[in-house]
């Protein structure tokens, strides 16, 4: 093998850089996960690396922290609530956004550019800004000059309220990403379908939707993680004064924080329990996720 043929990236230096970065990235999680299996008093008495060093760690490993959180009252109910909030809150914005993205990508209509800019522009509106008007809307509807456009709803405390709130917050990014993705689909296929006389509805369901699975899955993962990990929206619209309506993240954080002070054994195990579902979703959809992002963000 001549020197020229040796690819530079097989040189130790680049591997070293990569391994260093990877180790740096995994390292913070390592001590955290380890501590979740140690009794609370031990965590405080001896640092985890000293415990490894002295070998004491292996004798004290325990699942007690996990069972303390996991078998807390009604945690299962909170898990169900989380799903009832998260799954529709993912599907509804994706569906609405997919239709809009199709129109922005393949249809011609007046004001298309302006409307699209409006969608992209609203991406920046901070969530906290719209909470109050939304709670008002879901509580007492909208009146314009005394004429009720939307009647009094009294929706707060129901799942529907969170679905619509999350739909509003997720839509701009969804529309933006999916439209980008659809623009990357071969135009000729869609045009030939139209020439064959297929309606927009048919083209959308039969052709564009199946081709966009990766993009949809990518945003779906995004939205799922965001909704599942959020508890501000859930607390405001669902659970503020009804214990029945707690979602997992909120519940776990209360269990961990509520134990006061230095409850690192509960904080670690609690955080890990609330990470389980996102991690499963993430790893099972990872391939789609990456492909979907590629379709959206990469253009020659």
């Amino acid at each position: 093998m001549t020197r020229n043929n040796q690819k530079w990236y097989d040189k130790p230096i680049s591997k070293l850089i990569l391994v260093t970065i990877a180790l740096t990235w995994i390292f913070p999680i390592f001590g955290f996960v380890l501590s979740s299996f140690r009794p609370g008093e031990s965590i405080k008495r001896e640092s985890w690396w000293d415990a490894i060093y002295t070998g004491k760690l292996w004798t004290e490993l325990t699942l007690a922290n996990y069972s303390e959180i996991f078998f807390a009252d009604n945690l299962d109910r909170s898990f169900y609530n989380s799903f009832a909030v998260t799954i529709p809150s993912t599907i509804i914005p994706i569906t609405i956004a997919a239709f809009a993205a199709y129109a922005f990508a393949f249809m011609e209509f007046r004001g298309k550019e302006v409307l699209f800019l409006f969608v992209v522009g609203s991406m920046i509106i901070p969530l906290q800004m719209s909470l109050i008007p939304l709670v008002q809307l879901f509580k007492s509807g909208i009146e314009v000059f005394g004429i009720p456009i939307i009647p009094e709803l009294d929706l707060n405390g129901t799942f529907v309220a969170t679905w619509f709130a999350h739909t509003g917050f997720g839509l701009p990014l969804a529309t933006f990403l999916l439209r980008d993705f659809m623009m990357g689909l071969p135009k000729s296929v869609i045009e030939s379908a139209k020439i064959d006389g297929a309606s927009n509805m048919t083209t959308f369901f039969k052709l564009v939707l199946p081709l966009s699975v990766a993009g949809i899955a990518a945003f779906g993962t995004f939205q799922f993680l965001w909704v599942y990990n959020d508890f501000l929206v859930a607390n405001v619209f669902l659970g503020v004064y009804n214990p029945e309506n707690l979602v997992v993240t909120s519940h776990v954080s209360q269990l961990a924080v509520g134990a006061y002070g230095e409850a690192w054994h509960l904080r670690t195990s609690g955080a890990i329990i609330s990470m389980i579902v996102p991690l499963i979703v993430f790893f099972s959809l990872q391939r789609f996720f990456i492909r979907g992002l590629i379709g959206g963000a990469v253009k020659g």
Partner: protein, 432 residues
């Protein structure tokens, strides 16, 4: 003779049953607040006998985001029946915005309420003469935690005056140890421990309670000599070499909940990290599990020492206050129950409870934890003698009490005694 009595008795129970069960049975009353964890369990337990008796379903849900969420709820008009705030200032604020129902409209006997909880506490939840806030729990801040056994072993005696405390501190430093634990980091509220120290000193210098009230109401400026004197005394504790374990770094960096841990950890010679920790009664909830049982025996309190001997003893404290958002019948019933002496019965008997009733008629022998008996009696006595004062930073406008006062105390800890004037001037200028 016998029959009519029996009949009327039966009738009476029937009527009572109809009133109690018929009209309010199954009604729901929702309460939200900042209490979570064991406090939440305790607060929920307080309603158990009430719910059994009346059939009203009372739900309490706490949140660590409470302050933000209740603001959103109030702005949008979608409120629970009650909110339990950790500061009376927030009750006044909500009342000012027209959100709350006066206690008079809840059919509360106001005179009785004042007798039970003291005119001072009631006054904190009053706006333009109308009472909006319901006093609930109180905590005591004018206390210093110490371990009698450690004191005895070294021949130290409990100080009753400031000078004695300083002499003891110097003695401990001379013995090669650190007298004080002091940690004031607290996410978003860092500095409050130093403001508590300032308040305790203010209650014991100048004109005592009177100058304290003037200070709270901004009738004397924040850089008044009395206040400056208080800051100087505080700086003596914070900045004298060797006084605080870990030095000023530790004061600024230590989470207040961990601050006392050095007292519980002995070095190779069996010496604790510190001997005295001035902190409110609720700190026991933050102690390591193994130490909680020793509250009131192994680790107990002495009163914050007096400074000016001519002033009467005064107690600093804090507490929760609720406000009601409507005057439904069920709401009225719950409000009345929360103001009764029995409300805390079910909470007091819980061994992990760290909350104390603010009701002066509360039977303190019910407290399961020995320390709570001591503290509860002190609070009740101080309230009755009108020498109880509420945490000043909770009563000042939030820009000061939750803003510049906290922040400048952090700066003072870092910068040292030379910064006192700058700190006080900055706070004075920030008063709205």
């Amino acid at each position: 003779m016998k029959k009519p009595l029996l009949v009327s008795f039966l009738l009476l129970t029937l009527i009572l049953g109809a009133c109690g069960g018929g009209s309010l049975e199954g009604e729901e009353v929702s309460i939200t607040g900042a209490l979570i964890g064991t406090d939440q369990d305790g607060f929920r337990a307080a309603f158990e006998p009430f719910m059994e008796e009346t059939g009203i379903v009372v739900t309490y849900q706490g949140s660590d985001n409470f302050e933000q969420e209740i603001q959103i709820q109030m702005e949008s008009g979608d409120t629970p029946d009650f909110a339990l705030w950790p500061q009376p200032g927030a009750v006044v604020d909500a009342a000012n915005r027209g959100m709350l129902t006066p206690l008079a409209d809840l059919d509360i006997d106001l005179e009785q309420y004042q007798n039970d909880f003291s005119a001072y506490l009631v006054g904190l939840g009053t706006v333009d003469g109308v009472i909006y806030g319901g006093a609930n729990a109180a905590n005591l801040k004018s206390i210093v935690w110490y371990q009698p056994a450690e004191f005895e072993a070294r021949g130290y005696s409990v100080p009753s005056t400031w000078d004695e405390m300083i002499a003891l501190a110097d003695q401990i430093v001379a013995d090669g140890m650190n007298p004080f634990c002091f940690g004031m980091y607290s996410n978003g509220a860092s500095g409050w421990l130093a403001t508590d120290w300032m308040e305790d000193i203010m209650l014991r210098t100048g004109n005592g309670v009177d100058s304290y009230d003037q200070w709270v109401n901004h009738e004397i400026p924040f850089n008044d000599p009395v206040v400056k004197n208080a800051a100087t005394l505080l700086s003596q504790i914070m900045h004298t070499e060797g006084y605080v374990v870990g030095g000023t770094d530790a004061i600024v960096s230590t989470y207040f909940g961990n601050a006392q841990d050095p007292m519980f950890s002995k070095d190779a010679n069996g010496n604790p990290g510190c001997f005295m920790h001035r902190q409110a009664s609720f700190i026991t909830g933050f102690w390591p599990e193994g130490e909680k049982a020793g509250a009131g025996t192994v680790t107990t309190v002495f009163p914050f020492p007096s400074i000016d001997a001519s002033l009467p003893a005064a107690a600093l404290g804090g507490g929760d206050m609720w406000g009601a958002f409507n005057d439904r019948d069920a709401t009225k019933a719950v409000a009345e129950y929360m103001l009764s002496a029995e409300f805390y019965n079910n909470v007091a008997t819980r061994p992990d409870n760290a909350r104390l009733s603010a009701h002066t008629g509360f039977d303190t022998s019910l407290y399961a934890a020995p320390i709570n008996k001591i503290l509860g009696d002190t609070i009740a006595a101080a309230l009755s003698a009108n020498s109880f004062r509420f945490d000043a930073s909770d009563l000042m406008p939030p820009e000061v009490g939750a803003g510049s006062f906290w922040k400048e105390m952090m700066n003072l800890a870092v910068e040292g005694p030379g910064y006192i004037d700058t700190a006080l001037d900055t706070i004075e200028n920030s008063w709205p």
